[in-house]
C-alpha cells in the first residue's frame, strides 16, 4: 500500500528538508510505486538522518517524523543484535535529539498467517518506541480516518491557567490548564480591493474598514470616539454607563480554581455541557502533583464521582465559570493522569420549556410492538461500532469544509480560473449514510419503512391565511387574488371609515368594512354589499370578462366569512349563484372556480 515510503524518503533526502512547496508535492505525486515491501525501521533511520543532518545540534525546531505504514511486512534482521536492540538504539538517538514520532498504522486485510505474525511483531516494535520515546501510534481503517489522523496544523498549546487547584485552603495541587477542544475555524479571508492599478506589483489589495458613529438626529455630525458611551437597556429606557464607572463597580473575582465539592456523575447530564473542553494536567515534573491528580482521578473513576469547580483563569477576568471535572485515566504508561473540565450552565442560562410526555400522546402516535421491534432492529443493525471498532471517531474525522477549502485554495493557486472542486468522495461519506452499509441493511430499513408509515400531512399549512391557497381549483390567478386580498387587509387604512363598497377598489373597501369595530352591523353590511357587488359583476359580464374579478371578490368574501364565523352567509350565497347559473350564463364561472 504505502511501501514506497523508503524510496520516497531517499528521494526527498536529495532535496533537503524545507517548507513544503508545490515542487515537492508534484514530485511526491509522480513518485513511482515501490515494488519491494517496505521496511519501516529503515524509513525511520533515514528520516532521522535527514532531520539531524539538516538541523544539527544548534537548530532548535520541533522535529517530528510522521510514519505512515501498514506495518504488514517483516522488517529485515539487523546485522548485529536483535530487532528490539535496534529499536532501542534508534529510540535513544531520537530521545537525545528530541524527535517525536507519530505512527499512523493503516489497517488492511491481512493476507495470511505469516503476515499476521509479521504485523504483530511490527506493532510490538512500534510500541517499544512509544515506551522509550515521545511517540504515538494511531490505528486507522480508512481514508477518512487517515485524513483525520494526519495533523496538518499543529497548534502549540498555550496554558489557560497555571497555578493551584484548591481542594481547601490548606490542600492545593499545582496544575496547568489547556484547551482540549477548540474549534478550528474557517479562515477569515481578506476583502479584496481591485482599485490598485494592474501594473502595481506591490499592491496589497487590502481594504481597511472604518467605523463612524453618527448622531441619529443630525447625520452630518460625527461623534468622536471619546464622546461615545456605552448604554444598556433597562425596561424602555437606555442607561448610559461609562467604562470608568463600570470598572469601579464590576464583578472582579480573584484568580483561582476552587473545589466546591464532589457529586455523583449521574447528577450531571451530558447535554448540560456548555462549551469546548479544558484539560487539567498536573504540573510537569512535579511528582507530588502527578500523584495527587492520579489518586483523585482514580478514586473518582472508581466511585463514579465528578467534582464541581469554580474557576477564574486570570486576574481581572469579569466572570466565573462553574465546571464539572471528570477523571481521565491515562491509557499510556508514560502520560500522567489528568482531568477534563466541562463548563456548566448557570441558572440564567437554562430555559424551562415544557414538552408533552410521550406517554400522554394519543395511541395513534405511539409505536406498537411490531413498530418498536423494527425500530430496535434498525438501531441494532445500524451499528457504527461493530466488534468494538468504532467508525467515524471524532478524533479521526476531519472537517470536510476545511478540507475542501484547502483543496480549493491549492487548485486556485495553480489555476486561478478553475472551477471549485467537488467535495472529496472520501468526505462525502460522512455527510450521509454509507451506501455499503445501507445496502447490507435493506431488510431492516424496509421493515422500518413498512411498519412506520410516513405521509405528508394533508392539513399542512392550515393557518387561516393560507388555507384558501389549497382550494382544489387552485388556478394561479386565484392564488394571486387571495394573496392580494391579504395584502389589502393589512394595508387597509383604518382611519378612513369605509361605509360602502365602491367599484374602483371593491376588495379594499370590503376589508376595511369588515375590519370596522365600531358596531357589529358593519360585518353584516359588508357581506351584503360584497354579495351585491359580485352579483353585479357577474350580471354585467360580457363573455366572462368580469369572471376573474368576481372570483377574486368571492375568495375575499369566503376568507372573511371564515374569519367572522359566518359560513352560512357564504354558503347560501354560493347556492344562490348556483341556482342562477343558467340565467346569468355562469357555467364558465363555475368551471373557473372548480
Amino acid at each position: 500500500m504505502l511501501n514506497t515510503m523508503k524510496s520516497a524518503l531517499s528521494c526527498l533526502a536529495q532535496k533537503d528538508i524545507k517548507v513544503v512547496d508545490d515542487l515537492i508535492m508534484d514530485t511526491l505525486r509522480e513518485l513511482p510505486r515501490g515494488t519491494r515491501n517496505g521496511d519501516f525501521l529503515d524509513a525511520i533511520v533515514i528520516g532521522m538522518d535527514m532531520l539531524i543532518k539538516k538541523f544539527g545540534p544548534t537548530n532548535k525546531g520541533k522535529h517530528r517524523i510522521c510514519l505512515i505504514t501498514d506495518a504488514q511486512h517483516p522488517v529485515k534482521e539487523p546485522d548485529e543484535g536483535s530487532k528490539a536492540d535496534q529499536v532501542d538504539t534508534i529510540g535513544q538517538l531520537m530521545k537525545s535529539h528530541g524527535v517525536r514520532l507519530d505512527c499512523i498504522v493503516v489497517r488492511v486485510k491481512l493476507a495470511g498467517l505469516i503476515e499476521q505474525m509479521a504485523a504483530d511483531e511490527n506493532i510490538d516494535l512500534l510500541n517499544q518506541f512509544s515506551k522509550s520515546t515521545i511517540s504515538k501510534i494511531i490505528h486507522v481503517d480508512g481514508s477518512i480516518s487517515l485524513l483525520g489522523a494526519l495533523r496538518t496544523r499543529n497548534i502549540s498549546p498555550v496554558t489557560i491557567y497555571r497555578g493551584d487547584l484548591e481542594l481547601s485552603s490548606s490542600m492545593k495541587i499545582k496544575v496547568w490548564v489547556y484547551k482540549k477542544t477548540s474549534e478550528e475555524k474557517f479562515p477569515t479571508l481578506n476583502k479584496y480591493s481591485d482599485k490598485a492599478p494592474g501594473n502595481d506589483k506591490f499592491a496589497t489589495h487590502e481594504l481597511k474598514i472604518d467605523y463612524e458613529y453618527k448622531n441619529t438626529e443630525d447625520f452630518d455630525r460625527i461623534v468622536p470616539p471619546e464622546q461615545r458611551i456605552k448604554g444598556y437597556r433597562y425596561g424602555p429606557q437606555i442607561v448610559p454607563i461609562s467604562s470608568a464607572e463600570w470598572e469601579a463597580v464590576k464583578f472582579t473575582p480573584e484568580k483561582s480554581v476552587k473545589l466546591l465539592g464532589f457529586t455523583d456523575a449521574s447528577n450531571i447530564m451530558r447535554h448540560y455541557y456548555m462549551k469546548d473542553v479544558y484539560v487539567f494536567i498536573p504540573e510537569p515534573g512535579n511528582v507530588k502533583a502527578i500523584l495527587a491528580v492520579s489518586s483523585l482521578a482514580r478514586a473518582m473513576k472508581e466511585m463514579n464521582k465528578v467534582a464541581i469547580m469554580r474557576c477564574v483563569w486570570r486576574q481581572g477576568q469579569g466572570n466565573v465559570i462553574i465546571g464539572v471535572l471528570t477523571p481521565n485515566i491515562s491509557s499510556s504508561d508514560n502520560i500522567p493522569d489528568s482531568f477534563y473540565l466541562n463548563v456548566l450552565p448557570f441558572a440564567e442560562d437554562v430555559r424551562e420549556f415544557q414538552f408533552p410526555s410521550f406517554s400522554n400522546l394519543p395511541a395513534s402516535r405511539l409505536p406498537n410492538e411490531l413498530q418498536q421491534e423494527s425500530s430496535d432492529n434498525l438501531v441494532k443493525m445500524l451499528d457504527l461500532a461493530p466488534d468494538g471498532q468504532e467508525l467515524l471517531k471524532p478524533e479521526l474525522t476531519p472537517n470536510p469544509v476545511l478540507q475542501r477549502f484547502y483543496q480549493s485554495l491549492d487548485l486556485r493557486w495553480k489555476h486561478p480560473d478553475a472551477q471549485l472542486p467537488e467535495l472529496d468522495a472520501t468526505l462525502m461519506r460522512m455527510t450521509g449514510p454509507d451506501p455499503n452499509t445501507l445496502s447490507a441493511l435493506t431488510s431492516e430499513v424496509d421493515s422500518f419503512r413498512k411498519q412506520i408509515e410516513l405521509k405528508d400531512n394533508p392539513k399542512k399549512g392550515r393557518p387561516k391565511k393560507l388555507a384558501l391557497l389549497e382550494k382544489p381549483s387552485g388556478s394561479n390567478e386565484e392564488t394571486a387574488a387571495v394573496v392580494k386580498a391579504i395584502d389589502y387587509q393589512s394595508a387597509a387604512p383604518s382611519a378612513v371609515k369605509v361605509e360602502k363598497i365602491g367599484h374602483s377598489n371593491p376588495l379594499q373597501d370590503f376589508e376595511a368594512m369588515m375590519a370596522r369595530r365600531d358596531g357589529s352591523k358593519w360585518v353584516e353590511k359588508a357581506i351584503k354589499e360584497m354579495q351585491c357587488h359580485i352579483y353585479g359583476l357577474l350580471e354585467n359580464s360580457f363573455l366572462g370578462d368580469n369572471f376573474l374579478n368576481a372570483a377574486e371578490c368571492l375568495m375575499a368574501l369566503r376568507s372573511s366569512c371564515i374569519l367572522e364565523q359566518e359560513p352560512k352567509k357564504f354558503n347560501e350565497f354560493l347556492h344562490y349563484l348556483y341556482e342562477n347559473k343558467k340565467k346569468l350564463d355562469l357555467h364558465e364561472f363555475f368551471e373557473l372556480l372548480s
Binding site: S168, S169, K179, K180, S182, E184, L189, S193, E206, L207, K208, I209, Q227, R228, I229, K230, Q237, I238, V239, P240, V249, K250, F251, H271, Y272, Y273, D276, V277, I281, A299, N319, V320, S332, P336, D337, P345, E348, D349, V350, R351, F358, L361, P367, Q372, S375, L384, P394, E395, P398, S408, L409, L423, L427, T431, G432, V445, F448, P567, N571, H575
Partner: protein, 624 residues
C-alpha cells in the same frame, strides 16, 4: 358540487393537535391591587412592642417593587398597572370612590414598568397618607364598595389589549379576610353578590385572579376569597402555604431574562433513504449575556448610528463592500467570490442525516463544542414523525445507544451525537423533557493533545492503592448530595443587573449580590473534613510537605540574592557615567547595549528591546 371540500367550515374541535399545541401567550398584562385600608398599616408582628415594626402595607409595596425590578429585566415587554383601593382620594377613569390608580409621568396607566415608576412606587409610603390617604369605606352608612370598584377599574385597565396571545391577571394584596364584616343584612348579601359577580365576569373575560394574603395563618380564605377566586374546597387548606410561597418567590425572584418557548428551526431528520421525519429544534440551554450594548452620545445620551466605510489600502479610495475575498497562499493572492466561499461551506443539504448508532460509552466527555440543542418531533407536515421518533427514542434508551448524524446547516455543518433523554418528572413539574439532545461533536481538527506534550519517559508516577483510598475518603466527605446543574446564579450577570438598576433608579449604592459560587468555607473547616484532607495530603505529599515548600521558597530568595548581585554590579557600572550629560550631547548611542542596560537595571526599567528603544527609554526617564 362540494361547497366545503377542505372542511374549513366544519367544527374542528375534533383535531387532537389542539391538545398538544396550547397557544403560549407572548405577553402578560398585570394589575396589582393593593389594599390601603387602615388595617394594612398595622405592624406585621403580633406583639406591638417595637415601634418601628414593618407594616403590612410596607411588605406589599416591597414585594411588588422587588417583583417589578426582576420583571423589568426578565420580561420587559409585559405591562403592568398599580392600583390602591380603600383610599381616601380617588383617581381612576370611571371616577369611582376609594380607588387610586398610581402612575408616573411618561407612562400610560397600563404600560411597561419604568425605572421611575419603580423608584417612586417603592418610596410611596412617605407621602401616601398625605396624597392618597387611607379610608375604610365599607360601613353600614356608606353604600360604597371599594373592592367591587377596584375589580371594575382593574378590568377596565386590562381592556387595553384586545390582542391575542396576551394573558391577563389581577393580583390582590390584602390582610382583610372579611371585608364586609362591618355590615349586615341585605346590604351585605347584596354587596357580596355584586362583588362575586364582578370577579366572575372578569374571569370569564380571561382574566386570572390571584390573592396574596398578608395576614399570615389567621387569614381565613373561606369567608369570601375562596368564592371570589373560585377555589375548590379541597384546595383551600393548601392555599395559604402556597400563597406564602408565591409571596416569597415574588420578592426573591432571580433577575433573569425570560424567553418564551419558541422553536429555533424545523429540521428534516433523514433516518434512512425514503424515511424522513420532521423535528423541531429548541435551544434549552444558551449562555445569557448582559444584553446588547447601545452606543450613546455622552453629551446628549442619544443613541448613535454606526456607519461602515471601506477604504482601499492602496489608493485610499472609498469603495463599496466588495464581493471578492482573498487569501495569501505561498506568497500569492488567491481570490474567491463570496458565493464561492458559501459554495465551499455548503457540503450538505441542511437536513439531519442519520449515520448510525454507537454505544453510549463512545461519547467521551471531551466530545463537546457548543451548548446542545433539543429536538422534539412534530407531525405538522409529515404524519407519523412522532411515532417514528418515539420508536427510535425508546430503542435508543433501551439499547443504551446514541445516534451519530451529520447536520448540514449551511453555516456550520457538523457531526452531532443524538442522545435520547427520557422524561424526568418531580412533584414540582417536568425536570427533563422527553426528546433527544443534539450534541455537537468536534472534528479531528478541533481536538488537541496537550496532555501528551510532556511525556514522562520511563512511565509516569501512578497513585498507590492507599493514596486512592485516602482520596475516596475525601470524596465521601466533601459530597454535594443534592447538587443540581444550574443551581447557581451567575454572579457577574447579577452584578451587572444590580449596577444597571442602581444607575437607572439613581441609587447611590449598588445592591450587594451574593456570590453563590464560592466554596462553603465553613463546611470545609469542619473537623471531619479537615481530617480527611490532611490524611490525603500526607498520603500524596508526604509528612513534611509544608516545610519542603517553605524551603523551596527560600531557594527562591536565593534567586533574588542573585538579582541583587546583578543590581549592585549595574549600580557600580552606571555610576561611572554622567547620564544626563551623555544624553544631552547625544552620546548615548556610543555606549554599548550592556552599558545602557546598567542604567535601566538601576532604575528598575525594562531592559528588553533594540538599542534605539533602550536609548529612547533612558531619555524618557531622564525627562528629555
Amino acid at each position: 358540487m362540494d361547497l366545503d371540500p377542505e372542511g374549513i367550515f366544519r367544527d374542528d374541535s375534533d383535531s387532537d393537535s389542539d391538545l398538544l399545541h396550547q397557544r403560549e401567550s407572548t405577553k402578560e398584562f398585570s394589575v396589582y391591587l393593593v389594599d390601603a385600608s387602615p388595617k394594612m398599616f398595622r405592624a406585621v408582628g403580633t406583639t406591638e412592642e417595637d415601634e418601628k415594626e414593618e407594616t403590612f402595607f410596607h411588605a406589599a409595596v416591597q414585594c411588588i417593587s422587588e417583583s417589578l425590578k426582576a420583571q423589568i429585566i426578565g420580561r420587559s415587554s409585559d405591562e403592568i398597572s398599580i392600583c390602591f383601593f380603600n383610599t381616601r382620594e380617588k383617581k381612576n377613569i370611571q371616577d369611582l370612590h376609594g380607588v387610586f390608580v398610581f402612575n408616573v409621568a411618561e407612562r400610560e396607566l397600563l404600560d411597561r414598568p419604568t425605572a421611575r415608576l419603580i423608584k417612586e412606587f417603592s418610596s410611596i409610603e412617605d407621602s401616601f397618607m398625605h396624597h392618597i390617604g387611607s379610608r375604610y369605606w365599607i360601613e353600614p352608612a356608606s353604600r360604597e364598595n371599594p373592592l367591587y370598584n377596584a375589580l371594575w377599574v382593574a378590568q377596565a385597565l386590562l381592556r387595553k389589549g384586545s390582542l391575542k396571545n396576551v394573558s391577563m391577571r389581577i393580583l390582590i394584596f390584602t390582610n382583610e379576610d372579611n371585608p364586609f364584616g362591618n355590615i349586615y343584612g341585605s346590604v351585605k348579601a347584596d354587596m357580596i353578590r355584586t362583588t362575586l359577580q364582578r370577579a366572575k365576569d372578569a374571569q370569564e373575560l380571561g382574566i386570572s385572579m390571584e390573592l396574596l394574603p398578608l395576614g399570615g395563618k389567621e387569614f381565613d380564605v373561606s369567608i369570601l376569597y375562596a368564592n371570589l377566586l373560585g377555589l375548590e374546597s379541597e384546595e383551600m387548606p393548601l392555599f395559604l402555604s402556597s400563597a406564602d410561597e408565591k409571596l416569597e418567590d415574588m420578592a426573591n425572584q432571580l433577575r433573569k431574562r425570560i424567553f418564551s418557548k419558541r422553536k429555533v428551526k424545523t429540521i428534516m431528520f433523514k433516518i434512512a433513504s425514503g424515511v424522513s421525519v420532521q423535528v423541531n429544534a429548541y435551544a434549552l440551554i444558551r449562555p445569557s449575556t448582559p444584553g446588547p450594548i447601545m452606543w450613546l452620545d455622552s453629551v446628549t445620551s442619544r443613541p448613535l448610528k454606526t456607519e461602515r466605510t471601506f477604504i482601499c489600502a492602496d489608493t485610499g479610495a472609498l469603495v463599496q463592500q466588495p464581493r471578492m475575498r482573498f487569501q495569501k497562499f505561498n506568497g500569492e493572492i488567491v481570490k474567491f467570490t463570496v458565493e464561492e466561499l458559501a459554495e465551499i461551506k455548503k457540503v450538505s443539504d441542511g437536513h439531519l442525516h442519520l449515520l448510525g448508532f454507537k454505544p453510549l460509552g463512545c461519547l467521551k466527555g471531551y466530545h463537546n463544542m457548543r451548548p446542545s440543542t433539543f429536538i422534539y418531533p412534530t407531525d405538522e407536515e409529515i404524519v407519523g414523525s412522532t411515532l417514528a421518533f418515539v420508536a427510535l427514542h425508546r430503542s435508543m434508551l433501551r439499547l443504551q445507544r446514541f445516534g451519530v448524524a451529520f447536520y448540514g446547516s449551511s453555516s456550520h455543518p457538523q457531526l452531532v451525537a443524538l442522545v435520547a433523554q427520557d422524561e424526568i418528572i418531580s412533584s414540582s413539574g417536568q425536570l427533563e423533557p422527553p426528546g433527544m439532545h443534539m450534541i455537537y461533536l468536534p472534528y479531528s481538527d478541533d481536538i488537541r493533545y496537550p496532555e501528551e506534550l510532556l511525556i514522562h519517559a520511563g512511565g509516569a508516577p501512578r497513585a498507590t492503592d492507599d493514596q486512592i483510598k485516602k482520596a475516596s475518603a475525601l470524596l465521601k466527605r466533601i459530597d454535594l448530595k443534592d447538587f443540581s446543574v444550574c443551581q447557581f446564579s451567575n454572579p457577574a450577570l447579577q452584578r451587572h443587573y444590580g449596577v444597571l438598576q442602581a444607575l437607572a433608579m439613581g441609587e447611590d449604592e449598588v445592591p450587594n449580590v451574593k456570590d453563590e459560587t464560592l466554596p462553603d468555607e465553613e463546611g470545609m473547616r469542619r473537623p471531619g473534613v479537615l481530617r480527611v484532607i490532611e490524611e490525603f495530603k500526607v498520603a500524596v505529599y508526604g509528612e513534611n510537605h509544608d516545610q519542603e515548600e517553605a524551603a523551596k521558597n527560600d531557594s527562591i530568595t536565593e534567586a533574588s540574592k542573585k538579582r541583587k548581585a546583578i543590581y549592585e554590579v549595574a549600580l557600580k557600572e552606571s555610576a561611572s557615567y554622567d547620564w544626563a550629560d551623555l544624553a544631552e550631547n547625544g552620546k548615548l548611542k556610543d555606549l554599548t547595549v550592556i552599558e545602557l542596560k546598567s542604567y535601566l537595571t538601576v532604575h528598575n526599567l525594562p531592559v528588553a528591546g533594540k538599542k534605539e528603544v533602550l536609548i529612547s527609554r533612558i531619555l524618557t526617564h531622564l525627562g528629555l
